[in-house]
Symmetry: C2
Subunit: 156 residues, 2 copies
Amino acid sequence: MADASTIEKVGRRCSIARSLEVIGEKWSILIVREAFWGRTRFSEFRDALGVSSDILTDRLATLVEGGVLERVPYRESGSRERYSYHLTEAGRELAPVMAALNSWGEANRPSEYGRSAEYRDAVTGEAVELAFHTADGRLVDQSGVTFVRGPAVIAR
Amino acid sequence: MADASTIEKVGRRCSIARSLEVIGEKWSILIVREAFWGRTRFSEFRDALGVSSDILTDRLATLVEGGVLERVPYRESGSRERYSYHLTEAGRELAPVMAALNSWGEANRPSEYGRSAEYRDAVTGEAVELAFHTADGRLVDQSGVTFVRGPAVIAR
């Protein structure tokens, strides 16, 4: 708990830490990945990831609370009401986080299997890539990008 | 431990999971953030983050093993030899992960403090932004990007 409160303290000023409050627990990002791939049901997430029901319940609750997933009730004939989990708009806006993790893993932790995900414009279906660019549209290689403290942290 | 082995199994095919093996533990991404901001010493990381020495030792070891940080020995007069920690090229290539987490937190978990980090071309100093683009350079808004399983996962 000391951990959590310190991360919260850092989080007030740093938006990386605030993002991690929602998606920073083990499994959370893999659950979001499965949601992007179209999985919606508790049992689908559990079977795809091999995660325990307790942990999955906890992570889904945090993702719903953090506005990444939306719970929708459904009922199959003869069964009790259950919930399915769907990406919200904020959830879909995690695409750059996923793409950045994908690219880094492919470049720095390669496997023999090839690419695990392909990113597309949802409307046109065109392949898209994530990259840094300047205001006038020049692409800048990620290894040539640095970052400095912004106003929120300089003031600390 | 059951957790770790399952993530490893998933990781063989998914580069998101392989990235998380290196930076997916609590605090790891915040340590990388501090490294981007120029901190290099154990005591600096500990004091900036308020993380316990045990956890910091563990996370630094994983980041060094995963090729994100490089350990460099140094000795101040009268002290024993210590190590400082420096981003490697693979570490600097995490800039898009950091920028994506920054942007998501700013958009979806806003605070009153303003931006916590600013991204720049390390050579020219120009401000840069992270975005998806098509092969012909058209920018695509992140909320309009979806992703599908790639060859590594379809084959599973």
